[in-house]
């Protein structure tokens, strides 16, 4: 890709700082998701891939991560009560 990856990544990392930390490690997860999405896009440009499926799955996995953490947090909160 013509754009220097480091430049894009540094901007994205800075923008990720603005993301709400919905659970522990969530922001890092988002950084990884976006990194992977850009990697998928890059690979898709070189040779066509089922990119939509890859992105859906990636988002789904992070959603699972978030749900699990939320459930754990809610469980902890309930047991505290």
């Amino acid at each position: 890709m013509p754009l220097n990856d480091r430049r894009i990544i540094s901007i994205i990392l800075e923008q990720c700082e603005e993301v709400e930390e919905r659970c522990d490690g969530y922001r890092n997860e988002i950084v990884n998701v976006i990194s992977d999405i850009l990697e998928y896009e890059r690979a898709h440009r070189v040779s066509a891939t089922n990119i939509q499926k890859q992105i859906n799955e990636k988002c789904d996995a992070t959603a699972q991560f978030l749900t699990t953490h939320r459930e754990q947090r809610d469980g902890t909160e309930e047991s505290d009560l």
Partner: protein, 711 residues
Amino acid sequence: MKLLRAEFQNFRLLRDLELDFSCDPNRKLTVIRAANESGKTTVLHGLQWALYGDSALPDKGNGFRLHPIDWDVSDGRRVPITATVEFEVTSHRQAGKELRETRRRYRLVRSAFEDVDSAARRSASTVKLFALNDSGATPVNAPESLINDELPPELRDVFFTDGDRALSFIEADVALSTKRGRVQRAIRSLLGLGVIDDAIRHVNKAAAEVNRKAKRIGADSELKEVASRLEIQERQREKLELDLEDAKQQFASFDEKVNVVDRKIEATLQKGDREKLATDLERAQKEIGRLNKQLSVANKEHSGLFRSQSIATDLLAPMFTAAFGKLEELHDQGKIPSTTIPVLHDRLDAEVCICGETLKPGQPEGDTRRAHIQKLIKDNQRADEIREVITDLYYSAKPLQGEGSGTSSIWLEEYASVVERRDDIQELRDEAGRKLRALENQLDSLPDTDIQGLRATRNQYKSQRDNYLTKQSTIETQLASLKRDIEDLEAKRDRLLKEQKRGTRILAERDVIQDVMKVLRSAYERITNEELGKVSELMNHIFLEKIGADPEQGAIIRRAEISQEFDIIVYGPRDRTLNPDRDLNGASRRALTLAFILALTKVSQVEAPNVIDTPLGMTSGFVKRSILRTAVRESAQLILFLTQDEIAGCEEIIDKVGGKIFTLTNPALYPKILVNDPGVADRKVLRCECNHREDCRLCQLHSDAQVELAS
């Protein structure tokens, strides 16, 4: 990406040529020294053909011969043409907290066969890409994808620049929307906005998937109904966005068409306005008609002169004089006139006698005297006939005496006046005739272009362009309203999801997608705004630095910038906008385009080559050195094709930053430009390792003075 080496076989003058390029970050300049007509532009075309195929050739390769013009058909009527380029690609990937750098080397081989005939038909070229590693070369699928990704075709003008034509971003001969489009595409592509744009599109589709999941778990509830409505609205939004893009493209397309027709009209009008010429022609014909009438009157006047009494009196003047002499003699002798009767008649008419007494009728004395005079008249009427005739002659000729005997001729004066008037009219008539002929010739020489038709076409295009502009704003309004509806529906759907058991999972997915989208969009916006500002600022800096020493331009140009609308604007004193194509001299236009290209490459931090043919033409002294210095400083890899004249004065800079320097020579330039006979029968470019300060038997050139003397 960095270019490592290139190789050409049978590509025009490059029958068998190998080039290598410097990849040393401290000496990143490669100088390919070559005199004019020694293959510089051919190498530029060859590199681009290797990477992009026929679309990179002039006229997209149509009618553009690739094989050597002096190809010997005994070697075959189909010429194999090959261009090979080796390059290195560096990529980075964030792995946890670590940024990993990977360098890969590739070899791209493009080949085609071309017939040796006037049509120079050639087969579609084939491209093969190999990944180079320690174990050799491994074929890579879909080579175009990698090239399009590393050096997108829309950036061809950024990476491969013909210095003489390095104006595609600022030239006046294209519509504003076209220039804007080029600048916008170059910036977006080089800043990587394309890849983020694609990612946003795919993540958006993932968001639609979230809604479909909500619809599935909603069964027959309100959630299903809301999710279904949302689905429809999303589809509507997608359609409107496509329509909007289409309207924008159509607007730009008709804007360009208006511009093309405008240029045609302007070009035709420069040769002459057929309509105006026709009006001028009609006016000239009327003027000729009017002058013809005047001329006819003058001619009649002229011929009338020859029928006048004055010409007769003038012609008979000597005879008149002699005759009068005789008559006067008779008169003096008292033989004539037969004075009595006319005198007596005179006296009667005058009613006064010669002696002074009254002859008034009705008075007794007058009547008496009148009766006496009338008696005298009767007595005299009996005088002899000859004397009467002579007397008549004397008196009737008397009025002519003055005319015929004078020194000046009335007729001649009249003649001179009439002829002068007629000649003046004739001159005006001749002049009008010449003007008419000139207009007719001008009209005949005009191309058969229908200006009226062109104006009608232009108006049609303008009307269509305006329609698309209206359509664009209508769609934008509809989209704004639709987005508000979608937001309302999403809020409602999310509220309903919270009430569902499985809704939490879907809401988590929505949160993830929203966060990803937010990051991508803000990154996109930031790159567009901030990075565009940086490109603009750096371009201005480089540009002013390049032209700083030019007193002529330095006094006019204050700054240059890229607007938010992607227009490259140059400002003069008091912030007056200058037209880069008209108000800037050749060196400044070249400097501005190169400044834009270098700033864009630098800000994007892209590791890409800048291959520039004759970047220092039309420049000299400090400006020339300044252009070279800034180009070296701002480039990741700089490959310059320079003539000896361009190098002159820049030797010390090249000494410091030149990583690879070699010379190309065209043997066909012997003996006019080359000193020594290269002893090569074929027309082909040869390489020697002479640097910018050296000459060898092959590349040694005659001095300019010697060349001029010889020619």
